[in-house]
Each structure stands twice: as C-alpha cells, then as structure tokens.
C-alpha cells in the first residue's frame, strides 16, 4: 500500500531521516514510536510531501510518486500528481488545523466538493454520516472555536475521512489534548482500525499502540531501530535503544501513578 525506499531528509545540517525504508500493507495499522527528535513526524510528513525529500522514493499502491534520483538530477513529479496523492492519503495533525471560517460540516465538505468535484448532495450525505460516526451529529453547524480540543480533533479525522482516503496518517493527534479528552479521539481511531483502515500512527500513547497496532516501529536518530509485533516490542525488545526508551516511559508512567499495563513485562526482562 505505502512503501518508502531509502528516504533521506535534512534540515540544514541536521540529518533527520537516514535512509529510512518501510512498507505498510493494506489494512495494516502501524504505530511509530520513539523519543522526540527521532524523525517520526518528519517521516509522516514526507509521505504526502508536506516536506520535500532529499532522496528516496515513495510508492503509493505501487506507483512511485515524486522522487529524486541519484546522480544529481532530480526527477520531480508535477504538482497535480502530488495533489492527487495527497487527496488519497488522509492526514490528521497534532494541532487539528480545522478551517476556522467554516462550520464543522463545511470543513468536511470543502475538499470533496472542490478537489474531487463531487456533487454537493452526495458529499453532504457522506459528511453527515461521518459526523455521526465520530459522535458529533449535534455539532455539524458549530464553528471550530466552539468545540473542545477533542471534538475538534474528531472533526479533523472526519474531514480526512470525507475524502475517502486509502490510508490515514496520524501525527501525534492526542499530544495537544487535555488528558480527559484523549480517550474520545483514541476511540474513533480504534474503530477505524477495526474497520480495516490502513493507518500509520505517530504516538506517545503506548497503551493505545499496544492494543491497536499490528506492528510497532521504533525510531531514533532518524533511523528505524527495530520493528515487530506489539507483543514482541513491548515484552522483549532486542535493541538497546528500544529498551532504554520503553524503560523511560515505564518509569514516567509509574511516577505519574498511571496504568502500566501497556507493558505486561518489564521491557528489560
């Protein structure tokens, strides 16, 4: 479904992604974890080219999109091709980024109507169904500023779904939320996962990752250090960095007196 091949990305002298390759199967839910600054978000943003790549290729359903060939010469796909790709891959941001001048329902409808040129009635029907799905049928006419963070993020998820994407990217979507609002957003994501949506999720919610992911990918310093099933990653990580990272999280959670059942056994075990 999505295949990344040898992705490199630098910000100035900072090499944030080093030769990253990753493949996500159709219907698979992959959680990307790791310390901050590992390049997780950058990787996600590279997939739909919100960040231009330095090198490497991204394949969406086998079609390579936007690549930089080696040997100095760049091969860059036209904007229209990248726009088409983006419209097929939904993205949800940490900061919601709803359009403040549109109501919730209009936020869902604007892209299908103007980008896909679908008939308004049909789009409206779908948008209403999606608002129901994220549990916000009573908020269709609300403007984003009238909604709580959790509600805004659920609208943002619905907005991405309104384009009927083939895959969804989630970039730390609960990090900006008050703790009591995180659950409602995760619930929507769990439901999506259960319905078989292809999802790539950058998250710090380890309990959620454990429950929902088919595969956990651990990144540090711009490199994929280790990947595996949640079971294997959380109970028997092989990589030193993974152990360290999970240990830190475990200690933090213990300190906060939070539920540590995300880790059935100590990561160092």
């Amino acid at each position: 479904m999505i295949r990344l091949e040898g992705i490199n990305k630098s910000f100035g002298r900072l090499h944030v992604l080093r030769d990253v390759s990753l493949e996500i199967q159709k219907g698979e839910v992959v959680c990307l974890i790791g310390p901050s600054g590992a390049g997780k978000s950058t990787l996600l943003r590279c997939i739909n080219h919100l960040e231009p790549l330095d090198s490497g290729t991204i394949y969406i359903e086998g079609t390579p999109v936007y690549r930089f060939t080696h040997g100095g010469r760049q091969v860059v796909d036209p904007d229209s091709k990248i726009e088409a790709l983006r419209s097929e891959v939904g993205m949800v941001f940490q900061s919601f980024n709803l359009f403040p001048h549109f109501t919730a329902l209009e936020n869902l409808m604007v892209a299908p109507i103007h980008v896909r040129r679908e008939p308004r009635n049909e789009v409206r029907r779908r948008a209403l169904a999606l608002m129901a799905k994220v549990g916000l049928s009573d908020k269709i006419d609300a403007y984003p500023h009238e909604l709580s963070g959790g509600q805004q993020q659920r609208v943002a998820i619905a907005r991405a779904l309104a384009m009927q994407p083939k895959a969804m990217l989630f970039d730390e979507v609960t990090s900006a939320l008050d703790p009591e609002l995180i659950g409602e957003v995760l619930r929507v994501m769990r439901q999506l996962a259960a319905e078989g949506m292809t999802m790539l999720i950058v998250t710090h919610e380890m309990g959620f990752a454990r429950d929902v992911a088919d595969r956990i990918v651990f990144m540090a310093d711009g490199v994929i250090m280790e990947e595996g099933t949640p079971q294997q990653m959380f109970s028997a990580p092989r990589n030193e960095r993974t152990k360290q990272f999970l240990q830190t999280i475990l200690e933090r959670n213990a300190e906060l007196g939070e539920d540590t059942t995300a880790f059935p056994a100590s990561p160092s075990a």
Partner: protein, 244 residues
Amino acid sequence: MRDIFSLFNFSGAGEYLPDLLRGAVISIELTLCVMALSLVFGLVVALARMTRFRAVRAVATFYIEIIRGTPALLQLFYIYFVLPAFGVKFPPFTAGVIGLTVNYSAYLSEVYRAGIQAVAKGQLEAAQALGMSRSLMMRLIILPQAIRIVVPPLGNYFISLFKDSALASLITVKELIFTGQIIAATNFQYFAIFTIIGAIYLAISYPGSLGVQYLERRMKIGYRPQRRAPIGGPTRGAPQGAVS
C-alpha cells in the same frame, strides 16, 4: 486690531459653504474611486509578489519599492505634468484617481501580503494534505482568513486616503482644499475657511476611525490566536507589516 478681528469673521460662510460642500463631495468621490481600485490592484500586486514566478515577483517588488520610495505628490505630478509630454493626457480628476491608485495599491499590497502571511502555517498544511492546489487553497482557505486580518488596517488606510486626497488639489482637482483656496483668495477669510474645511475633514474621518475600531473588535470574534491589532486612528506611515 480690526484686521485681527476680521480674521475670525464667519459671516460670509453662508455664501461659500455650498461650494465647500461640493468640494467635499469631490474629495469623497476621489477617495471612493481610489479605494475601490486600490483594493483590487493591491491584491493583484500582493499575489504577484508571492507567486512562484520569479520575473513577476521582481516586477511587483520593483513597483512597490519605487512607489514607497518617492513622494505621492511627485507621482501625481508625474502623471499630470510629465505624461502629457509623451502624449498621454488625463483630465485632473482622472489623473488624481490614477496617481493615488498607483500609490495606494503599493501600500495596500503590503497590507494584503502581511495578512496572507499571518494565516497560520497549519492551515496551509491542512489544505495541502487534502489535495488542494495552490489556487484553490488561496481562494478557499487563505484569503477568507486573511480578509479578517486585513480589514482593520485597510480601514485605516481608507481614512488616510481621504486626507491624502487633498494632494490632488495640487493638480487642480476641484476638491475641498482646492475650493477653499480659491474662495480664500477672493475674500481673504483664511481662518474661517480653513477652519471649516478642517471641521469637514474631521466630521468624516472621526466617525470613520470609530468604524474601524468597531471592525477591529468584530473581526476578533471567534478566532483563537489573535495577536493585538494596533489600536487607534489613521496610520499613514504605520510600520509596514504591522498588520495586527
């Protein structure tokens, strides 16, 4: 002594007041024409300045720098007195409209640009992530939000334009100041006439500036991260880019 008192003589006001009001109407017409045109051209220049096409960008930047670096009066003189030498001749009012539009479009384009750039980066990313093209994004997402940001500063420019319309008197447009000068040259009641003119300007500008303040408050409603807009009256020569 008699001369001093005659200075304060408003007795002839009844005779020349209608003339002054006619002049005021010309001033207002001039202002409205220039504002309407500048709102459009200013946006065009702003978009030209932000396009991907380097040549277009260079032309727009060149234009803005020339206009901002020379007096508005000189620009009016150029159009009214210099262009006829090249066979391009306009009547005074038209020349005034063209000159002030050329001038104000440059300033307004910077207001627009600042407004467009003040739209949160996350908005662009969200629009891009939904597959919107640049033009779609500009039309549906950026401009509607930028409008809210630029309305108060545009209002301030509107008010200063009304005062700057007085410059057109120097290319013989029969607006308020020009009319006053003509009348004063015949009856010498400078104090009375220019005081009345001042009162007329104030009577129009002050409500205008209250209106701008009202708009400023209106535009803030419903938006989360609002930086403070500069409060106060007309701001000709306000620091560029200081758009709320």
